[in-house]
């Protein structure tokens, strides 16, 4: 049985070489995730499974093909220095990139809400290759495409979890003086797809472009419209993860360029179930780009971004597979309230899943134990709702978590958890 699955995935994987982070099924406009039929998600799971063979047909290539070989692209390395505001903009010589915003919100009655807004960029072919091609091939302007943009938005309250997804074609070198459906500019900072937009409001000359942001996005599905309009104000500096922003992702040494702005205070309003609700809270922006995020043997990750009540922030992730001896690969950043970073690794960070539950038919770990021996911290992290499955063309789980002290149970903070690769687990176990 397993043999046959492997053979199938190999044969089909060969014919489905391409991305699948973005193109697994193509855009299916916008769906409410709760009502997605089972067959549909099975189909998606299937296509994600197909991606589980790498370019050489030699085996798994990680979640959403993020482990696929990346010849011709630039590579992240510890020798790269981040410089702003340029690095707030896109890096089309890298294969993938994202602008990833999550927020833990409350309304005036104290009811918690969660939101996510992400803009993904995926190069379709290395820029070097495009430039090498004869001019005639390149004449297909103005529609010619070597980048695909994908945006996800989610808004959750209690049982309610609304998701939307959009796509756009783009070019690494856009034609001058033409409007674009999607893109990111560093100066002035603006990231957009259609009418979804994250825009810098920074006025003071000394400010970083990301210090003040405005996010607007709205979508409509069969349950009606939903959306948000939020103002974000940073209360701390940008944070570079890993070695000056190079975040290693496996023992093989490959990784990504990764920095965050974890210190946002948010205010604004959300639209949900026909009403406008004033909200406030904390937000976290991740910026990451890479050409090979995962090694071929890694199947997914569990990613935490936590706002602790002490004022400290914590980023931690576990990449399943790809560590020394094919163990899981652990990494993270302990961020002091004034933005000082202490990198974490397998010896200074443990992450143990305690309990799993079903979300949209997929078993995902929703209760975790996180231990930082050097900081003398032991936390229990619990997802507030199981129902935070992102039924987008790439399947993953993304939702708000509560953080408490493992020993006393006293609340210690809140945050967001992202888990990928669990749709494949389901396939395998069946």
């Amino acid at each position: 049985m397993n043999n046959q699955w492997h053979l199938n995935s190999l044969i089909r994987g060969l014919s489905v070489l391409c991305l699948l982070l973005l193109g697994a099924c193509g855009p299916a406009s916008e769906h409410g995730s709760q009502t997605q039929p089972v067959t549909e998600s099975a189909k998606r799971a299937d296509s994600a499974k197909n991606s589980g063979a790498d370019v050489n047909g030699g085996g798994r290539a990680g979640f959403a093909n993020l482990g696929a070989a990346s010849q011709g692209y630039a590579h992240a390395s510890s020798a790269t220095y981040l410089s702003f505001p340029e690095d707030h903009g896109p890096h089309p010589d890298f294969r993938i990139e994202w602008w990833y915003l999550t927020a833990n919100l409350v309304d005036d009655n104290g009811e918690p809400l969660g939101m996510q807004w992400t803009l993904f960029r995926q190069a379709q072919q290395p820029i070097a290759k495009i430039e090498a091609e004869p001019k005639s091939e390149h004449k297909a302007e103005p529609w010619s495409t070597d980048q695909i943009w994908m945006a996800h938005m989610a808004l959750s309250r209690g049982e309610n979890h609304r998701v939307a997804e959009r796509f756009a074609r783009g070019a690494s070198v856009p034609l001058p003086n033409t409007a674009q459906q999607a893109g990111v500019t560093a100066q002035p900072f603006r990231a957009w797809l259609d009418d979804w937009q994250l825009e810098s409001q920074a006025r003071n000359p000394g400010d970083d472009a990301l210090d003040h942001l405005r996010l607007t996005a709205q979508a409509k599905d069969e349950n009606g419209p939903f959306g948000y309009r939020l103002e974000l104000e940073a209360e701390g500096p940008l944070v570079r993860h890993g070695i000056r922003g190079f975040s290693q992702k496996s023992a093989d040494g490959q990784g990504s360029m990764y920095y965050s702005q974890p210190f946002y205070r948010v205010s604004g309003e959300v639209m949900l179930e026909g009403e406008h609700v004033a909200v406030s809270g904390r937000a976290w922006l991740d910026r990451e780009w890479s050409s090979q995020l995962l090694s071929a043997s890694q199947t997914g990750w569990d990613w935490f971004s936590l706002h602790l009540d002490s004022g400290a922030r914590l980023m931690a992730f576990r990449l399943r597979g790809g560590g020394a001896n094919q163990d899981d690969y652990l990494s993270g950043s302990w961020i002091s309230p004034d933005g000082e970073v202490t990198p974490l690794n397998a010896s200074t960070l443990t992450l143990v899943p305690l309990e799993s539950a079903k979300a949209a038919g997929h078993r995902v770990p929703l209760r975790w134990r996180l231990t930082l021996p050097e900081q003398n911290i032991e936390l229990e992290i619990v997802a507030r709702q199981a129902n935070r499955w992102m039924n987008t063309s790439v399947l993953y789980w993304e939702g708000a978590v509560s953080v408490s002290d493992a020993a006393s149970g006293a609340p210690r903070g809140q945050g967001y958890l992202e888990m990928t690769g669990y749709d494949m687990v389901r396939q395998k176990s069946e």
């Binding site: 406009s29 072919q125 033409t178 674009q180 957009w192 259609d194 009418d195």
Partner: protein, 840 residues
């Protein structure tokens, strides 16, 4: 069990002694099956194509158009998306390959295309990356690919992007990424459509108009009548073929009566015998049906290109020249042939089950049976005639003239044909007995004509078997006459109408930017008498307000239709064909000039609109109301159309003019002017056409349209001839025995043969004569009933004496031809062996 095997072998051994009968049986099945399954293959293939065409757009897209009528561009798309309006760009165009294949090319943006259509799904297989990046992909249906051959090229030598099969795509359609389509069609920044999922947009964004996924009739609905026509034709062939089968089976039973009695006497039960004969039927049926299916496929393959051309020209429906058949087609083909066989054979089985062990199978007994059969036929024919009358009464009761549906129309034709066919044998019998009695009266007065008397009596004896073949001949002849008269009449009407409609000498379709310059230049030419400027637009018929004083009803069809602008000058007003006007012609033209409208016959009939009614049309500026002042014939147009004066249309719909018809002064040279135009304005041959050319194209389309009808018609007649031949061949042996006796008495062989030919020719002539009124009746049903229902126009009834005499000649010729072969055999047989046959 063994007994059954032996009995079956014994029964089948008959065919070893009479291979001709076996051949005739199989041929009947084969011919019937071939025509039926051929036509069904064509229908099934076309329906499959329509289904794919409809699925291409799924549940349909709403479309956005610019309010100012300008071409949409990429900027419009980006602006709308940035404003949160979820639209997707499409580029649609026509592509001609280097080998001359014309294809529809659709460029999509898979990243924004909404919905579940085949168009949207084409992105699912094979990966998005390959689709949107060089060298891109050509998504096409396998049949389109087969049609294109191995290495199709474009623009003298450029290969297509790599081809990927998507069976759900309609024929002759290529889907590619919008980037490469913009390059291939050199559309630059412009796009042909902005689509959004049906009903996703609550209202049109500012500056745009929203065209809802319309209620436009799908190709499947439009062409339904055409396929019904084909099916009716095939059914006719099937019935005629089954006549042959029936004749062959009857003969085989007749000759095996002795054998059956022997088998009964040997202890085979009656039931077993019937089962065995049914088994024989199944065996033969399967064989014949399979042969029919195979030939039907061949026939369909041969005819399909013509059918595809017809459907394209009549309805604009795109049908592949390649067959694509669903599985149920195969079962259906065999099923219908077998079913028909059992209907044809049931009489034989019934008779076989009632064989009396002691009775004698004698000709006289047969005759008594035949008399009874004639009475039954007369009654059944009466019933059919009554139902025809009832249908006619039903259809005329309500409105004026014939108003049958399509099915009603075919029902009427079927009832008339059935009545005539059933009455034919009694009629023939009556004529014969009248002649005989007349002759016997005469013989009392003068010397007898023994040979004539014998010939008549002999024909009477032949009648039971001949009658079926004659019925088949009658059906084929009358259908042939009916259809060819209809086509001929249509042809006359159509050509006449073309002459009236195409009054300009040159037709010019300049690029929009050049239009004003060219028009101004033409205005200064002395040779030019009039410039007939046209424009077109699409609209929706929102409301019809009847002018009828007693019935002030308002109907809201919400029907999409095209609006056409004409320039009512002297030329048009004099000759432009009009069927009906409000007031006189001149008044109608004056009213048109001042903003009223003409509508085409299809629209008038389809929506029951009379001159004087008011129509509310959707225009970019809101709802406009116009009065219908005239109805014009519009052959070859499947859809409803409204005509306005060009300047009115341009004002209402905010569209630019499209073409100029140039009317020359008498004696001026249009060729010279066209030379000047081409040189001065660098026109392509495509944008300037002279009247002759347009007429030739229209006529060619017409001829192709009815090529399939003619082909099927001819085939049906051929089958009828075969039926007659088969019948005559089958009884040739028995006939020879009778002739032998006469021969032995001393009647010269030449005279004998003459009598034989005269007998058959006479019977065929009577049949042919009966076919004439029947054919005319069928023509009337076609032009007044079925055409109106199928196409929306009514044609005058033309009678062609040439066609009629051709029918008569065909009847006699077919009979003579069919009699010729047995005759030739007889000629070669020595009398002695003829006499010897008497004993067998």
């Amino acid at each position: 069990m063994r007994l059954i095997g032996v009995a079956l072998a014994t029964l089948l051994s008959h065919y070893r002694r009479h291979p001709g009968q076996l051949a005739m049986l199989l041929m009947g099945l084969w011919v019937a099956g071939a025509l039926w399954s051929g036509v069904q293959a064509i229908n099934a293939s076309a329906r499959d194509n329509y289904a794919r065409a409809e699925a291409l757009l799924g549940s349909g897209f709403d479309r956005l158009e610019r309010e100012d009528g300008q071409t949409l561009t990429r900027d419009d798309f980006i602006q709308l998306r940035r404003a949160g309006v979820l639209v997707s760009p499409l580029i649609e165009g026509e592509l001609i390959t280097d080998s001359g294949e014309k294809l529809t090319l659709i460029g999509i943006d898979p990243l924004t295309l909404p919905g579940d259509s085949s168009l949207a799904r084409t992105r699912a297989s094979g990966g998005l990356q390959g689709f949107i990046t060089p060298p891109w992909q050509t998504r096409l249906a396998p049949d389109t690919r087969a049609q294109l051959g191995n290495q199709p090229t474009l623009n003298s030598g450029t290969p297509f992007p790599p081809m990927v099969d998507v069976p759900a795509l309609p024929p002759n359609t290529l889907v590619m990424d919008i980037a490469i389509v913009a390059q291939l069609l050199t559309t630059g920044d412009s796009i042909t459509a902005l689509v959004s999922a049906a009903d996703a947009l609550p209202a049109a964004p500012r500056g745009f108009t929203l065209v809802r996924a319309d209620t436009r009739t799908s190709p499947g609905q439009l062409t339904q009548s055409f396929h019904l026509n084909l099916t009716a034709m095939a059914l006719l062939a099937l019935i005629v073929g089954l006549f042959i089968v029936q004749a062959a089976l009857g003969l085989a039973l007749e000759q095996r009566l002795g054998l059956l009695r022997t088998l009964r006497a040997l202890g085979v039960s009656g039931r077993t015998l019937v089962v065995l004969m049914a088994l024989e039927l199944v065996l033969l049926g399967l064989l014949g049906a399979l042969a029919g299916l195979v030939s039907g496929l061949w026939l369909a393959k041969t005819l399909l290109p013509d059918v595809a051309a017809t459907l394209q020209s009549l309805y604009g429906a795109d049908v592949s020249g390649k067959l694509s058949l669903p599985w149920h087609y195969w079962l259906g083909g065999i099923g219908v042939t077998l079913g028909g066989l059992f209907i044809a054979g049931s009489g034989v089985l019934w008779r076989a089950s009632r064989i009396s062990l002691l009775g004698l199978g004698q000709a006289q007994a047969w005759r008594a049976g035949f008399q009874r059969q004639l009475r039954v036929q007369t009654l059944l024919g009466g019933a059919a005639a009554l139902s025809a009358v009832a249908l006619l009464w039903l259809s005329t009761r309500e409105g004026q003239g014939l108003d049958l549906g399509l099915v009603g129309g075919f029902g009427l034709v079927a009832a008339i044909i059935l009545a005539a066919a059933l009455w034919l044998p009694p009629l023939l019998a009556l004529v014969l007995s009248l002649l005989l009695s007349g002759l016997s009266h005469l013989t009392r007065l003068a010397r007898s004509w023994p040979l004539t008397q014998w010939a008549l009596a002999d024909l009477q004896l032949q009648l039971p078997r001949l009658s079926l073949a004659m019925m088949a001949l009658l059906i084929a002849l009358s259908a042939n006459l009916g259809v060819s008269s209809m086509v001929g009449g249509f042809r006359l009407t159509f050509l006449d109408w073309l002459d009236q409609r195409l009054m300009a000498d040159l037709y010019l379709r300049p690029a929009a930017a050049q239009f004003a310059d060219i028009d101004a230049w033409l205005a200064q030419r002395d040779a030019v008498n009039e410039r007939l400027i046209t424009a077109d637009a699409t609209s929706q018929l929102l409301e019809i307000t009847s002018s009828n004083t007693t019935d002030k009803s308002v109907r809201r069809p919400g029907l999409p239709l095209s609006v056409f602008g004409i320039t009512p000058g002297q030329t048009l007003m004099a000759d432009w064909p009009l069927l009906n006007t409000l007031g006189d012609r001149d008044a109608a033209w004056q009213a048109l000039q001042h903003g009223d409208a003409f509508i085409n016959e299809q629209l008038a009939r389809g929506e029951v609109i009379a001159p004087g009614d008011r129509l509310s049309l959707a225009t970019p500026g809101g709802v406009e109301s116009v009065t219908v002042v005239g109805i014009y014939p519009d052959y070859g147009n499947p859809r409803g159309e409204v005509v306005l004066a060009t300047h009115q249309l341009q004002q209402l719909f905010r569209v630019p003019p499209v073409s100029i018809g140039i009317v020359m002064h008498p004696g001026e040279d249009a060729g010279l002017l066209s030379q000047q135009l081409i040189e001065r304005f660098k026109l392509t041959a495509h944008s300037l056409r002279d009247q002759r050319e347009v007429k030739a194209t229209a006529t060619e389309i017409f001829e192709r349209t009815f090529a399939i009808t003619r082909a099927l018609n001819g085939l049906t007649l051929g089958v009828a001839a075969l039926a007659l031949l088969a019948t005559l061949l089958a009884q040739a042996q028995e006939r020879r025995r009778r002739l032998a006796a006469l021969w032995a008495i001393g009647v010269p062989l030449r005279q004998l043969l003459g009598i034989q030919l005269a007998q058959l020719a006479g019977a065929a002539l009577i049949t042919g004569l009966l076919a004439i009124p029947l054919g005319i009746a069928i023509t009337a049903c076609l032009v007044w009933g079925i055409n109106v229902a199928a196409f929306g126009w009514r044609l005058p009834l033309y009678i062609f004496p040439g066609e009629i005499s051709l029918t008569l000649i065909t009847a006699v010729l077919v009979a003579l031809l069919a009699a010729g072969l047995p005759m030739l055999k007889l000629w070669r047989t020595p009398p002695r062996s003829l006499l010897a046959e008497e004993d067998t």
